[in-house]
Homo-oligomer: 399 residues x 2
């Protein structure tokens, strides 16, 4: 383990676990959080050191769960551009609009961060065979990192997952099974088989370290904004690991003295066809009910039930944020608007954040001069089936 | 113009031109090279400064053709990972194998570099409407950078260009025409129409600055190898701008005292269905004859005639390099091998470099402990039609 990582802690009960061995969820069935000796980090690392390190997420290695860097599997993930998009902002009348462009990660999505952290940490703790259910991007990332590590990946995806994800997994040499169901069904199959097969499951939030990789998005927001966080973060929310991770990162950075107490208002974006977090937020609930008959063209947002629901909702409430549902049509249209005025060909999840921004602007929930960050979590090239649907409406949809 | 850019120079005749106005080729019809006051740069910039700058190609801005950075259109291009790929190297018995992974550029290819430099320089010199023939990736890049700049892009591509390129151009809002012919036919259409339409043509090597963007790959090789160049660079060669650009960068860096006189042996890789440079090299020619009936699944290598042919060949001869043709089948097979042991899902052009490496190893043209760099110039996600052909042979093709 990292020389600063002290233990794991149940995110619900606070019960602690040894960080030096492999874990999935806590005994109570909740996600485990990695905890560090922040006081020692504070005394030994100044935040000015990062800009001299490689532009990847491992520049924050003291706050990541690997000790011996020979176990670190890195394909160049993280430190993605935080772009001020003035041409788009000008069209919309928003003067401080930014996009964190996660499509420039290896395997074309933000999933690379979580997998890089989780597979490296698991290798250091002895795992050699990995299994995961996925809506697409996470499977591609696991298969890629396993390929470079020279270990086995078993991925389970819904059979209607876009071609790009299947093809990359095949190229990376993963064992792939396509399931007639949703990501939650894929997860249940792994549950049944993993013990007998000797697989270590790295479903998100069902092991402690994908969260640690994703939290680096929060460190980067701080570093790239010169250690003062923006006003609003608009984030497409499937499993929500990135949002939970950033919220954890903000807390760690404040304890380290890197940032003050200011937090962005966190916004979860989902689709109308699968919006469990939005429904729970609107009803002021602490957890979300599983969504029935989830249906959306956006595979990354087709997550009917997230194990970290209570953590997502906590971050929304504590930050005075909100949750917004957009339709498939809106998010495809706004993917086009984003592309046509920024040069980013976004994943539809990225387009969804712009659609949500428009709703929030209309409601005057945001002010026009606030610093707003949209997360484009992946590349449109992996979603050609979804994005090729309505291309005739490009011009009509332009802002 | 950059405060250090002094003039343009015909790459064949040495005739000079004003760098402050828009140009295409020289009066003699050859590419123009940007020339800088290297002595002044040497006196005012130490190479240790770069590591403190943003991890994009504009960190070398003193050697790029923009003065007022308000004209700089950047989507986060450059400073891509140079990965030591030990799992793949171990399979092949090559101990110092590296891949420069250009797929992590905006728009998923190395073309972003050239377009970022060319469009920024042209905007500073007054151009507002752009036209280009392309086999795919360059069109996508032009369309993206024009979208962010808020200016017009007119792209002409062969009608059988893969879907990803067409779709991104449509999303970016470019004017797109699909031509029943090759990239050279597209170029002729632009020639006929550009004056009347008021387009500035930014075909590669037919304006001076795409080369300047591409040369940053050479700067990065030097910086990432701690200012000592590798032994061999294996580069997929269509128009050859990157190879010519790196060769120019090496010369500039030596004059600046950043590197010594050591040069890598430069290797051009083409496909058997379109190998004009390989044929010319094997016949010890100074220029290449146009290739008849060019045919390959790799759109970026289907360039029957390159305006910079003599510059490519010069670099190959001067570096004691070579040129290698591989078949479409070999390059798809080795794309799989690269993916399965590195986690990079390469463009087929990237796979071609590995296929070429295998031939060079067999001939003992390379030694097993030499530092060898393969260029993966783009992302496989943009070539799904080509890469989806023979997926059944994945296992058989593994090294």
């Amino acid at each position: 383990m990292s020389r600063f990582l002290t233990h794991l802690e149940c995110s619900k009960t606070g019960e602690t676990y040894d960080a030096g061995t492999l874990h999935n969820v806590s005994e109570a069935g909740y996600p485990l959080f990695a905890r560090y000796d922040l006081e020692s980090i504070k005394n030994s690392v100044d935040k000015s050191v990062f800009k001299e390190r490689n532009p990847i997420m491992w520049r924050y290695r003291e706050l990541l769960p690997v000790n011996d860097m020979k176990y670190c599997i890195s394909l160049g993930e993280g430190f993605t551009p935080l772009r001020k998009v003035d041409t788009l902002g000008g069209k919309l009348g928003i003067s401080n609009l930014f996009i964190k462009d996660e499509s420039l990660n290896p395997t074309g999505s933000f999933k690379a961060r979580g997998i890089s952290a989780a597979i490296s940490a698991a290798l250091e703790r002895g795992a050699r065979e990995f299994a995961m259910p996925s809506a697409g991007n996470a499977a591609g990332a696991l298969a890629a990192y396993a390929a470079d590590a020279g270990v086995s990946a078993h991925v389970f995806m819904p059979k209607d997952t876009p071609l790009a994800f299947k093809l990359e997994c095949e190229y990376y040499g993963a064992e792939m099974e396509l399931i007639d169901g949703l990501i939650t069904d894929c997860g249940q199959i792994i549950q049944k088989r993993k013990e007998k097969e000797g697989w270590y499951e790295i479903s998100t939030l069902k092991e402690p370290y994908r969260l640690e990789g994703k939290k680096t998005m929060g460190f980067e927001l701080a570093e790239q904004f010169e250690w003062e966080l923006p006003d609003v973060v608009i984030y497409p929310t499937g499993g929500g690991t990135g949002l939970i991770g950033m919220w954890k990162a903000f807390d760690e950075m404040e304890k380290l003295g890197w940032i003050g107490s200011k937090r962005p208002r966190m916004v979860s974006v989902q689709t109308e066809g699968c919006a469990p977090i939005v429904k729970a937020f609107n009803n002021n609930m602490k957890t979300a009910e599983p969504w029935q008959n989830a249906s959306t063209v956006v595979s990354g947002l087709r997550v009917p039930s997230a194990i970290g629901d209570f953590l997502i909702l906590e971050a929304l409430y504590e930050s005075e944020g909100t949750a917004v549902a957009v339709s498939d049509e809106e998010l495809i249209d706004y993917s086009k608007v984003m592309a046509a005025h920024t040069g980013i060909f976004p994943a539809p999840e990225g387009g969804a954040t712009l659609a949500a921004l428009m709703k929030l602007k209309e409601k005057q929930w945001i002010k026009d001069d606030e610093k707003i960050v949209l997360f484009n979590t992946g590349s449109g090239f992996k979603y050609m089936e979804a994005l090729n649907r309505n291309t005739k409406t490009v011009n009509a949809a332009k802002a």
